[in-house]
Symmetry: C2
Subunit: 413 residues, 2 copies
């Protein structure tokens, strides 16, 4: 096998991290080495770092099987990430010439990019440019995103662990909400600007030992604050502790985000943009003032994308697999493709990898289908739950050292 592989490999990570994004990196690295790659480079901070020739030789940082297992369990993007969109090829060939010049200097033949929609756009453009200019370099996309909003693939690695984390802590917070014998409303604010997959995952808390959240509000459904207030008021009449999960991305009819309804401007970013946070606080304030009961606004925050202490084994295994499958496909001659996951069966859960034209994936956003949300628009259906349930199964124990999960740090390795 190794005789077939000419040239070096480079891999990068792009966009927001997931708890298992480094398992895909491990999958790319290990499979490339096992299949005879000469050098495997990592680009620091994705294409943005590549443009500054900031690359590392991965073998200098991953030296043992233990390092591979630590890498899989390390949160955040090991190589660093970026949010960098390449221009259209027709608008600016200079930047492409620079990238290909750097790749040629490193004798790269295989380029892997682990990311979501924007990253697949990068793979699309680079593979197009290679074909247009007769470059032999092959470009493959490796899917990841907690948001699960990539098209064609059944789901994306990273989503399962985020869903497992959300369902687990939703169970804990629901139990916590029952501690005092008093009326209370708890609002759980969950990530997902346009797609409600993660908010819907809170429904998985429901089971023999947990009554689950009372309502779920996904960004796919227009949010009506008055209707919401009435529903919460009605619920409070029949149960003391009301727990509602709500997407950070819910919008009212005029198109504004709920978090933009507040007059508070405490928290704007460097460009003066208000950050997309505060939905639960705004609604908690309304409930507190209008209903007079105790409220709690709990933002599940960045932990949704970095809680590697409670990853799912199905998810982290699939994350590794898509990395390995991308290497296999590229080494066998594919380019301009992304690895997808194809579900053969829900129960027993069977899922295989396949390859798919990245042109049909890049820049397409997959939201929760309307038929997987109930008619009232405040919960997901059993079909939704059946779809997510297999993806949160099983655990991969953290490697605990001196009481804490151990990670692999680029500087250390």
């Amino acid at each position: 096998m190794s005789a077939l592989i000419k040239g070096n490999v480079i891999v990068g990570q792009s966009g927001g991290p997931t708890a298992v994004i480094n398992s895909s990196l491990a999958g790319v690295y290990k499979t490339a080495i096992d299949r005879g790659a000469n050098k495997v480079y990592g680009m620091l901070h994705g294409v943005q770092g590549l443009l500054e020739e900031r690359v590392v030789d991965m073998s200098e940082h991953i030296k043992s099987d233990l390092d591979i297992d630590l890498l899989k369990r390390t949160p955040s993007s090991f190589l660093g990430s970026c949010r960098y969109k390449l221009p259209e090829i027709r608008d600016n060939t200079e930047i492409y010439d620079r990238i290909f010049g750097i790749l040629d200097k490193l004798e790269i033949r295989y380029f892997f990019y682990i990311g979501g929609n924007d990253s697949m756009d990068t793979i699309k453009k680079l593979s197009d440019y290679a074909i247009l200019n007769g470059s032999p370099i092959r470009f493959m996309g490796v899917p990841k995103t907690i948001d699960n909003d990539l098209a064609v693939t059944d789901h994306t690695p990273g989503f399962g662990s985020a869903a497992k984390y959300i369902a687990s802590i939703t169970k804990e917070v629901i139990r916590d909400g029952l501690v005092y014998d008093q009326e209370s409303v708890t609002l759980l604010e969950i990530m997902g600007r346009n797609a409600g997959w993660l908010t819907g995952a809170a429904a998985l808390a429901t089971g023999e030992d947990c009554e689950g959240p009372d309502m779920l509000f996904l960004p796919e459904i227009t949010f009506d604050v008055d209707h919401f207030m009435k529903k919460v008021t009605d619920l409070q009449k029949v149960k003391k502790s009301v727990v509602v999960a709500i997407s950070e991305g819910v919008k009212v009819a005029d198109g504004r985000y709920v978090c933009e309804l507040t007059d508070n401007i405490d928290y704007v970013d460097a460009f003066g943009h208000r950050q997309l946070t505060g939905t639960s606080r705004y609604l908690a304030g309304r409930i507190s003032r209008e209903m007079g009961c105790k409220t709690r606004a709990i933002e599940f925050n960045s932990l949704q994308r970095c809680a590697s202490h409670i990853v799912g084994r199905v998810d982290i295994t699939e994350a590794f697999q898509v990395g390995g499958a991308a290497v296999k496909a590229a080494f066998e001659g594919e380019t301009g493709k992304m690895i997808i996951l194809k579900r053969v069966s829900d129960d027993p859960y069977i899922c295989v990898t396949d390859i798919y034209d990245v042109h049909k994936i890049a820049n397409v956003e997959k939201t929760v289908p309307r038929e997987w949300i109930n008619e009232a628009g405040d919960y997901v259906t059993q079909d939704f739950v059946n779809y997510v349930r297999p993806l949160i199964q099983a655990e991969l124990t953290p490697i605990m050292v001196d009481g804490l999960p151990r990670h692999l740090r680029l500087e250390d390795a």
Copy 2:
């Protein structure tokens, strides 16, 4: 042994829960049964529920060894909790007569209360009243609180797991903060109104694979916003991702909480009181406006007291032990005491239980000693770390069912 035990046992939980408070409940229940107790009652929502005669027969809800192990791993107070302070005996004997009337009706001889400062006040008053009135009922306190602010005892069960959770997610968030190649400041808001034990625990994230938080601000030290801004600005010059942990309870020189400095009044409780949250958001807003860099405000929120998916085994074991030790002591004749933990050695960690007069514990708040905070007032010392480190050691795996941690619910059992 069983021949010695006359009458029934009752146990209650009071104050805020911890991730391991039910391990103490399991310790009381199992030890009482093993030592020949007839009936073990649980009061629902502590003394407040007892006054309404809301009690359950625990053996109807804990039927197997599996139930015991599920109970230990269940977050929130299994029996429900309350925040109820008994009046001084001299001011109102009627309420005491009612309580003792109910206890006599249930043929109670042993009363256990799992809680913090306020709960120990309850034990103190009830045991005093028993002695004053010749009641044979024995009253014992079982310590718990994530805040670690109980006097005399080396530490309190519940603190270790909260510290382990905080240190673990601090590691994850620090790693997450490095993902983009840009300047950013992350503020971690940690529980503890008057005592900085939990905020200090974020320092434990520091290790071979983690640089740790850059600064820690405990409520024991008066907070100076301008000084804070200058320190953050200086730090940002030497490192891109600055991470600061700050107690929700930090106050400025005039006595106001930092979260009270904001003009925002979105979020008041039923009594018009502003909730003690928003410290990190206020400071993030200042940093964002004045420094112009990306900021994140992350509230560690209720998960600090209910993240039973990552409890410490030292902690959950000690929580069980203090419950058992309270039963043993009461059965041997003690009353008006609390179980304390006495550390024999840091390394190897050796800790034993003892009993102590509850009069000297109730209503006393133990804060972090000044000498365990550095001179600048923005970090803890190595002595602090050495004190906490043994308490976060080892793990107790959750019992995972269908992908999620399984709990024991009172209604189910």
